[in-house]
C-alpha cells in the first residue's frame, strides 16, 4: 500500500466498475451457475430441471469412463510437464553458456510461443499422419507401427509431443531469464569452489532456479490441464471416439455433445476444486519461498 494516495471518493469506484461488472457477469455468474447446475438434472429437451443433490457427483466418480479420463489426464499432465520443463531447462542452461549466437538461439527457441495450440495440432495431424506423416515414417524406421487416431497410446504420444513442443518456449524464456538473474560472481565463486560442472549446477545453479522452476511447475500443470484443449481437439479431429482425452475435453464433450448440463457442471466444479488446490499450494510455497538477498 502506498503512503501517498488520493482520497477522491467516487473516481476509484467509477474506474473500478468496468472490471467488476465484467467479472460479475462473465465470471461469477457462470461460476455460480455451474455450481448450481451441478446439483440438478436437466431434461435433455430443455424442459426444466430436477434437483438431484450430489448424485451428479456420485455418478461421476462411479463412472469408469470418467475415472479412465481422469487417470489419463494425470499421466498426460505429468509427462507434458516433465518433458517440457526438462527440455527447456537443458536448452536454457546451454543458451546461457554460449556467447556466440546466443540471441539467435533465443529467438529460434522461443518464437513457437506465438503459435496457437490448434495450429500446432493441425501440424501434428500432418506430421503423424498414419500413412504419410514424416514422424510416423521415422517411428516406422525403428519398427514402431504408429497409428494416430487408431491406437490409444499412439494418439496419446502424439498429443504429448505436440503439447511439449508448444510449451518448451515459455519454459525456456523463464529459465533463461532466471539463469541470467543469477549474479555472475556467485557462479565464479562456485567455479573456484567446485571443479565439476554438473556439481556446480546441482549445488548452486539449480537451487537458485528453484523459485522459477516451482512457478513454472504450476504454470505447466495448468497448461497441460486446460490450455492443450486445441491440441487435443485437432489431433482427434473433433471426434474423440476411443481416443484419449483430458478432463477439460470431457467437460466440453459431455456438455456440448451429450447435452448433459448437470454432469458437465459437476465436472467443471471438480476442476475448479483442482485449480483451487493448485493455487493454494502455489501460495503456500511462495510464502515459504526464500527471498534470496
Amino acid at each position: 500500500m502506498k503512503r501517498a494516495v488520493f482520497s477522491n471518493p467516487w473516481l476509484p469506484i467509477l474506474i473500478l466498475s468496468p472490471q467488476l461488472a465484467i467479472i460479475a457477469v462473465f465470471f461469477y455468474w457462470p461460476a455460480g451457475f455451474a455450481i448450481q447446475s451441478s446439483f440438478f438434472l436437466q431434461d435433455p429437451f430443455g424442459f426444466g430441471s430436477t434437483f438431484v443433490g450430489v448424485s451428479n457427483y456420485t455418478d461421476l466418480f462411479a463412472s469408469s469412463e470418467y475415472l479412465r479420463v481422469a487417470w489419463f489426464t494425470i499421466i498426460y499432465t505429468v509427462l507434458v510437464t516433465f518433458f517440457s520443463l526438462a527440455i527447456a531447462l537443458l536448452l536454457a542452461v546451454k543458451a546461457d553458456n554460449v556467447l556466440r549466437g546466443a540471441k539467435t538461439y533465443r529467438t529460434l527457441l522461443m518464437w513457437v510461443y506465438a503459435i496457437a495450440p490448434p495450429v500446432a495440432g493441425l501440424m501434428g495431424v500432418m506430421l503423424f499422419d498414419q500413412s504419410t506423416g514424416p514422424i510416423t515414417e521415422l517411428f516406422g524406421a525403428f519398427g514402431w507401427d504408429f497409428r494416430l487416431g487408431v491406437n490409444y497410446w499412439d494418439t496419446a504420444t502424439a498429443m504429448i509431443i505436440v503439447a511439449v513442443w508448444k510449451q518448451v518456449p515459455v519454459n525456456f524464456i523463464f529459465f533463461l531469464s532466471g539463469l541470467q538473474s543469477i549474479p555472475r560472481s556467485v557462479r565464479e565463486a562456485a567455479l573456484i569452489d567446485n571443479r565439476s560442472a554438473s556439481g556446480r549446477f546441482w549445488d548452486v545453479i539449480f537451487p537458485l532456479l528453484a523459485p522459477t522452476a516451482f512457478f513454472l511447475l504450476i504454470i505447466n500443470i495448468t497448461y497441460a490441464l486446460f490450455d492443450t484443449f486445441g491440441v487435443i481437439d485437432t489431433l482427434v479431429k473433433g471426434e474423440p471416439g476411443n481416443n484419449p482425452m483430458t478432463l477439460v475435453y470431457k467437460v466440453f464433450i459431455d456438455g456440448f455433445r451429450g447435452n448433459d448440463l448437470g454432469g458437465s457442471s459437476a465436472q467443471s466444479v471438480v476442476l475448479m476444486v483442482l485449480v483451487l488446490i493448485l493455487t493454494i499450494v502455489q501460495f503456500r510455497m511462495m510464502e515459504r519461498r526464500i527471498h534470496y538477498t
Binding site: 494516495v5 488520493f6 543458451a95 503459435i115 496457437a116 493441425l122 506423416g133 467437460v251 483451487l276
Partner: protein, 302 residues
C-alpha cells in the same frame, strides 16, 4: 624484495610461441544441443511451409514435402481469397480481419480496463479495497476452459452468440492484466505522487501525465502478450461463433481438420497456407518485439 620487471609493451618481442587455440569440447556440445533444439522448433513449421507449395494430390500421396513446389502462390491465393474450400461463406481475408478484431479488441480492452482497476486499487484510499482486490484476484483461479459450459449458457441467454462482444468481453473477465499493472504501479516510486501533488496534479492529471507515460513499455509488453493470447483463442470462438462470418483463423483450423475426416482428398496445400497465415502475425510480433515481450512475461512472475 624480489626482482621487479616493469615491462612496457615496446620492449616485449612477440611471445615465443603463440598458444594454439584450444577447442572447447564442452562448448561444441552446447552448440550441438542448441542446434538440435532449434531444429526441433523450426523444422515442423518449415515442413508446413514447404507443403503449402504443393498440390493436394502430391501431399495426399506423398505426405509433407521438404522442398518448395510450384503451387505456393496458388495455395496462398486460394486460402486468402476463395470462399468455400473449408467454409462456404468466408475467405481467409475475412477470417484474418476477425482474428485482428479479436486480438486487438481483446488486448486493448484488457489494457484499458485493467489499468483503470489497478490504478484504483493502488492509488486510492478505498474502504472496500481489500474486498475488491479479492473479488478480482479470485478470477485468476479459474481459466475459462473450466467454466466453459455455464459461460456459454450465460452468453447465449444474453443473445450475444455470433457477436464480437460475445466473442471478446467474456475473455476479458480475468485479472491477469490487472495484476501486471498492479505490480508495476507498486514499483513506481512514491515520491512521484507526492511531487505531482505538490505540483498541483489531481488523480486524473497524475494518471494521464505521469503514470501512462511511465507505463509505456509495460503497456507495449502486455499488449503483445494479450494480442497473442487473444489471437490464439480457440475453444471460446468455437462455441460462440457458429456463423462463418465471425470465424477467426484459429477457429477456421477446426473446419480444416474436420474436412480431413471426409473421404475426398483434402485441400492440403490450402490448409497449410491457412495455417501459416494463422501463425504469422503473432509470430512476427513476438520475434520483432522480443525484448518487450520477454520482459513483460517474466516480470509478471514477481
Amino acid at each position: 624484495m624480489a626482482d621487479i620487471t616493469d615491462t612496457t609493451p615496446a620492449i616485449i618481442a612477440a611471445p615465443a610461441s603463440k598458444p594454439t587455440r584450444r577447442i572447447k569440447w564442452g562448448l561444441v556440445g552446447d552448440h550441438a544441443i542448441l542446434i538440435l533444439g532449434s531444429l526441433f522448433m523450426v523444422v515442423p513449421v518449415f515442413l508446413v511451409f514447404m507443403t503449402a507449395s504443393h498440390t493436394p494430390v502430391t501431399v495426399h500421396t506423398e505426405g509433407m514435402q521438404w522442398w518448395l513446389g510450384d503451387q505456393l502462390a496458388e495455395n496462398f491465393h486460394a486460402a486468402m481469397f476463395e470462399k468455400g474450400g473449408f467454409t462456404d461463406t468466408v475467405d481467409g481475408m475475412r477470417m484474418l480481419m476477425n482474428s485482428m478484431i479479436l486480438g486487438i479488441g481483446f488486448a486493448v480492452g484488457k489494457i484499458i480496463i485493467s489499468m483503470f482497476a489497478a490504478y484504483a486499487i493502488v492509488y486510492f484510499r478505498l474502504k472496500f479495497a481489500t474486498l475488491a482486490f479479492w473479488i478480482i484476484f479470485t478470477t485468476l483461479l479459474l481459466p475459462l476452459e473450466v467454466r466453459i459450459l455455464p459461460s456459454y449458457e450465460v452468453i447465449q441467454g444474453m443473445g450475444l452468440t455470433n457477436t464480437y462482444t460475445g466473442l471478446i468481453v467474456p475473455l476479458i473477465a480475468s485479472a491477469t492484466g490487472t495484476f501486471f499493472f498492479r505490480q508495476f504501479f507498486r514499483s513506481v516510486p512514491e515520491e512521484l505522487v507526492e511531487a505531482s501533488r505538490i505540483d498541483g496534479a489531481g488523480p486524473v492529471k497524475f494518471f494521464i501525465d505521469i503514470l501512462i507515460p511511465l507505463s509505456r513499455t509495460m503497456i507495449a509488453a502486455i499488449f503483445i502478450i494479450m494480442f497473442v493470447f487473444g489471437w490464439n483463442q480457440y475453444l471460446w470462438p468455437t462455441l460462440i461463433t457458429t456463423e462463418e462470418g465471425f470465424f477467426t483463423l484459429v477457429r477456421g483450423i477446426r473446419q480444416i481438420v474436420q474436412t480431413y475426416t471426409d473421404s475426398s482428398i483434402p485441400e492440403h496445400g490450402q490448409a497449410m497456407a491457412l495455417a501459416i497465415i494463422a501463425m504469422l502475425p503473432p509470430v512476427l510480433i513476438v520475434i520483432f518485439f522480443q525484448n518487450w515481450f520477454v520482459k513483460g512475461l517474466t516480470e509478471s512472475d514477481k
